[in-house]
Amino acid sequence: MIRTNRRSIAAIVLPALLALAPPAAAHSPDPVLSGPLWAQDQNVRFRWRAGEAPPAAMQTAIKAAAADAGATRRSRAATFTPDPAGTSWINYGLDVGCGVNGLACFNRVSAPNSFTMSFREQGHVFDWGILRWCQLTANQPDGCYDAENIALDEFGHVEILNHHVNFDDQRDYLDAVVQAYSRAKPRVGWSAHAFGRCDVASLQRKYDVALPTSKYSTCLDLSTNLSIAASATYVPYPGSVTFTARLLVTDLAEYERLGGNPVSGRTVSIQSRLPGGAWTAVATMTAGPAAGSYVYRATQLQATADWRAVFAKPAGEGIRGASSPVVTVAVSGCTKPPCPLSVEAP
């Protein structure tokens, strides 16, 4: 029997060379892979590949890693849920996607529809010796690899993360789970079950943070922009003014999804000074109605003064401090001289 179904070839000459992205500097957010992202907060469902399911203890570890990824992403990155009807699959023991090295591997060419993930079999023989998964080895001897840690690394790849670039002395190794060289027991980091801060940093850049109140990874160093507006810049004596500040992540292209984000729930103070004088803290502004807004109502104003909002760089977060421009509020119109200051209405 001969069946023929010939298709003509539409030869398309493609552009020649595509440059690789420059390598990330040590201690930076993880580099990222090429390819499409998942949708924000997409719940990606995976199953065990038929006939190639991992042993039960490995399944438990992989499912735990999926939960770890969701719990520690600190972003709107995808989550992963086991589901027998899932379009993504994970297998064990056959590794065409893995190549010759490594303990596990992934394939995200079909993102955002599906992914695949593969784990080497217990007992796989490498040049250095025999692979032992801790979960499949009695008493978890030194030298075994933690399947939950390795699976979390792979889920990080599936998200979009590439390997973290460590300092030469590896002192920042714990900043990322997505590592070129995962560690075996008992080396530091061998059983990390949460994304590191530099993993999170790239997930935040690519997928955004969940809320304006969400903390930015300390592996980031985002500049912020603080604006201020006064309800009036000329008030009678003794007057009142409402100041509204707005704190945003500076809108820079390299910040990707984080640029322009409103930043809520932080400490923004308001300061004032008499013209030519020194700044004095007045109060901590309270949360305003809009995301990233902070308000303060100044009452009994008796003198013209400069005002500004100040956001001090917070500890434990990867955003910089900022000061707003200065707004001058003039006070005038007193009825019982001598008035403290006399100005003309604008």
Partner: protein, 389 residues
């Protein structure tokens, strides 16, 4: 897709018919060594006794047509897992697209490489010694090539020179012992590539693979850590060794016209494919986000063939490594994947120039299961259907 049931047509190769006559897999009933096969074929393999036949088998010409390819050597390696999920051994099947000639159940530390002409090299370590054999995959007989107390991790053949190259590690320490060469027939081995020095940038070596340049004159020795790789090139003509240590080097795909073509150090797909001029170190990106890939022979010279896109929109690109010029290549075969390099695909088969093998998952098709070939010139696919055993 054109389906060619070649046994129903005139002209299946004689060797393939012979293989078909032998038919069936040989369940060796042992998981240690190749004793079962040895019992069947004798120490040197039935019908494979003469050394001259060994060299001739290694030099069998490349098939010129898909029909001829149906009778060419093929092999596939699959892990065999125990009830506890641990690796219990490797199953190596040898034969052609039409029939399995030998099925070997081997220990975990074993491998296969090839085909070289009609030969597939099979290495087996029983925990005390390593044994290398060359099987005539079309006939199922074998020759013993070497027995060593060191662990032979990988081996390959240079059919033109009639040499065997082995990569070895120390049995106790697993230290790299370098690459050794021995004639196919006679004489002891000599070390031709020194052990690789440790390098923290790459970490412990997970795997060292041996492959050949497109011209067959340069042995590519690539050692990979958990993620990144180092490559050394042995010029077989003069014994010179050159290192290629490009940053971010991943698994090698091929060596073409002095260009080492390799993935970046990705540990997954998609992954960029880069070329490195082994003389100048100049690098170029041949694919920004590739799936499975291999080097294919064409009338215009070797080309990089790689997947692009995912399950819903997968396509192929054919790239000239030298000029980086490329063309897209739509394929009308649902669910296909490119059969990758032998080390990644777990096997290989001999195919004619101008064609590339496809399979449902990128793994090498097991002998006797037929094969799907893609004609690079016009996108035609042909299925060589295996015989029913």
């Amino acid at each position: 897709m054109r389906e060619l049931r070649w046994l129903l047509r005139a002209g299946p190769p004689i060797a393939a018919l012979a293989a078909a006559a032998m038919l069936g897999s040989v369940a060796l009933g042992t998981t240690r060594g190749v004793s079962g096969q040895a019992a069947r074929t004798g120490p040197l393999g039935a019908g494979c006794a003469k050394a001259t036949a060994l060299v001739a088998a290694a030099r069998a010409p490349v098939p010129v047509s898909p029909q001829a390819a149906a009778g060419e050597a093929a092999y596939a390696v699959r892990p065999r897992l125990g009830a506890d999920g641990a690796l219990a051994g490797q199953i190596v099947e040898l034969g052609t697209a039409a029939a399995t000639s030998v099925r070997l159940e081997l220990p975990p530390e074993s491998f296969a490489a090839g085909p070289f002409g009609r030969l597939v090299v099979v290495g087996v370590d029983d925990g005390r010694r390593s044994t290398l054999r060359a099987f005539d995959a079309t006939r199922g007989c074998s020759w013993t090539l070497a027995t060593e107390s060191d662990v032979i991790r990988r081996a390959t053949l240079d059919p033109a020179a009639g040499d065997v190259y082995e990569f070895r590690v120390d049995r106790e320490t697993r230290a790299d012992l370098g690459v050794w060469r021995r004639p196919l027939v006679g004489r002891a081995a000599v070390r031709v590539v020194a052990p690789l020095a440790a390098d923290d940038r790459h970490g412990t070596t997970f795997s060292t693979e041996l492959s050949w340049s497109a011209d067959g004159d340069v042995l590519v020795v690539q050692s990979c850590g958990m993620t990144s790789c180092r490559t050394r090139l042995l010029m077989t003509a003069d014994g010179g060794v050159r290192s290629v240590e490009a940053d971010d080097q991943g698994e090698v795909i091929g060596l073409v016209d002095g260009l080492l073509i390799a993935y970046a150090a990705c540990r997954g797909l998609p992954c960029p494919i880069q070329s490195v001029d082994v003389t100048t170190g100049e690098r170029a990106t041949l694919a920004a986000a590739a799936g499975l890939a291999r080097i294919v022979a064409t009338g215009a010279g070797p080309r990089l063939l790689h997947e692009v896109g995912g399950d819903d929109d997968r396509g192929l690109r054919l790239v000239d490594p030298v000029s980086a010029a490329s063309a897209s290549l739509p394929v009308d075969a649902p669910g296909w994947r490119v059969v990758a390099t032998p080390s990644r695909a777990g096997g290989s088969e001999r195919i004619p120039p101008g064609w590339a093998p496809l399979s449902p998952d990128g793994r090498a098709t097991e002998p006797g299961q037929g094969t799907t070939l893609l004609r690079l010139e016009d996108g035609t696919t042909i299925e060589l259907t295996g015989v029913t055993r």
